[in-house]
């Protein structure tokens, strides 16, 4: 029970809720760096995924890139990035930037794979109907394929967002901010209250991210498709089995 009281004491100490090193600011840092890297990953992966899904070209290359990205240990990506990011910015390059690189590298595969498989799996009859109505390719993608595939596309973004929130904690090992600081500093100072407080905060943020994007995913289901089958489950839905390639 010592652990519980230590954690409660740490979490309820008003000093831990104020200032630059307080919980709100660490949370803000965490969300900020996670949002920046998700935005970069979306810019890189989403247009490519949609284009590959629509045209069917480059699927094999994308699958290889995605598979490679999935296999890379996040700590190794951070380590490899450091000498490069240090050249860009001597201060941030040793702390925040390498973690940012790792977060982007790990977020690209799920976004890319889900975008192109989602689009590619759209019923071809729908696409042909759009073409028959005189829609241009861009319109077909924007008005038929994307709305139908949106839950699958968002599923990829959900995996990426959860992965990013987790990787952002690793930044603290390399002197970065965010909620991971409480874990790393708590272990270093042998402060169980801080470690467990940090664990609860990090876990809560990860689960909140998963639930929030899951909710978005449910709302994104096209009304025309909502009849019959149920939408993706609310809350925690782990990835379906992966067939590999």
């Amino acid at each position: 029970m010592n652990l519980v009281t230590a954690t409660a004491a740490w979490l309820t100490n008003p000093a831990h809720w104020a200032g630059q090193f307080g919980i709100p600011n660490r949370l803000l840092e965490h969300v900020l760096i996670a949002s920046i890297s998700l935005a970069i990953a979306l810019l890189l992966a989403l247009p490519a995924g949609l284009a590959i899904g629509h045209t069917g070209r480059g699927a094999a290359v994308a699958a290889s890139v995605a598979n490679l990205g999935r296999s890379l240990p996040s700590l190794a990506v951070i380590a490899i990035a450091i000498p490069i990011t240090v050249l860009i910015d001597p201060v941030l390059g040793g702390t925040v930037l390498p973690t940012l690189v790792a977060m982007v590298v790990l977020a690209v595969p799920p976004i890319l794979v889900n975008a192109y498989t989602g689009i590619a799996e759209v019923d071809r009859d729908l696409v042909e109907a759009g073409r028959g109505m005189g829609m241009r390719e861009r319109e077909i993608l924007a008005r038929i394929e994307l709305p139908v595939a949106l839950p699958v596309v968002l599923g990829g973004i959900r995996s990426a967002a959860v992965q990013i929130v987790a990787t952002a904690t690793l930044g603290a090992i390399f002197g970065g901010g965010g909620l991971g600081r409480f874990l790393v500093d708590g272990i270093a100072q042998n402060d169980d209250g801080q470690v467990f407080g940090g664990v609860l905060l990090v876990a809560a943020l990860a689960i909140a991210t998963e639930v929030a994007v899951g909710l978005l995913q449910r709302l994104a289901r096209s009304p025309g498709l909502r009849r019959g089958g149920r939408g993706p489950a609310l809350g925690i839905a782990p990835p379906p089995p992966v067939l590999g390639m």
């Binding site: 094999a60 296999s71 240990p73 700590l75 380590a79 450091i82 089995p241 992966v242 590999g244």
Partner: protein, 220 residues
């Protein structure tokens, strides 16, 4: 940029850490598979248990690894248990779902044929359902192994006694970004992950010689 002298002087250490990396990952996947196998069989027989098992594994999967390692240090100390428990937990969601999906994928006609031939439920499971589920089980093992190899590097945050090749990344960083040492951890750990991936691709081809199509399934 690379200190070759350091590398030459630390070949023994690199070999030791590589072996430790493989050992920690293999142990995690093996225990994870044993637990998942039992859970999946229970879930396949008692369907109502599958959603809670799957949801619980999903929640654990969502929690960042550094948080799980940190939490366990206070409970199980700097022991190998602290390193292995999170590794095992993270394999569950992948393996349970793939084993259950493999069993679910067996066509109803096949099950009927097995019943018609007089198989008991147990015989049907071991002689018909599980053999047909092997491709998806191997696909799950592939994903679980590759991700576990990545996670082993983070066990180095528990203590210098763990981490496999990740030890060099953390130690090199603590020495003020000693690049040679960090790369001595980073590149071999990537090779290990890619090597394991390739090994399982081979195994997958071997157990499904009819499926040469390259497919990747989306995550939901």
């Amino acid at each position: 940029m690379i200190d070759w002298g350091w590398l030459a002087g630390h070949l023994d250490a690199i070999a030791y850490r590589t072996a430790q990396h493989v050992y920690l990952a293999a142990l995690g996947v093996a225990i994870g598979f044993a637990i998942s196998f039992v859970l999946a069989l229970v879930a396949a027989r008692h369907r109502a248990l599958y959603p809670p098992i799957s949801a619980l594994a999903g929640i654990l999967y969502t929690i960042p690894s550094l948080a799980l390692f940190a939490a366990l240090i206070s409970i199980t100390g700097f022991s190998v248990v602290t390193a292995e428990v999170p590794l095992v937990l993270y394999t569950l969601v992948i393996l349970v779902r793939n084993i259950v999906a493999g069993l679910d994928g067996v066509p109803a006609e096949v099950l009927e044929a097995a019943d018609g031939m007089g198989h008991t439920r147990r015989q049907r499971l071991w002689r018909v359902e599980l053999p047909l589920a092997v491709p998806l089980i191997v696909a799950g093992l592939r994903l679980a192994t590759v991700s576990t190899i990545g996670l082993v590097t983070i066990t180095g945050t528990i203590s210098d006694a763990f981490g496999g090749l990740g030890y060099f990344i953390l130690d090199g960083y603590n020495r003020g970004n000693f690049l040679t040492e960090m790369y001595a951890g980073a590149f071999p750990s990537i090779l290990l992950a890619l090597g394991a991936d390739l090994l399982f691709v081979r195994a997958q081809r071997r157990v499904t010689p009819w499926a040469n199509a390259r497919t990747v399934e989306a995550t939901s």
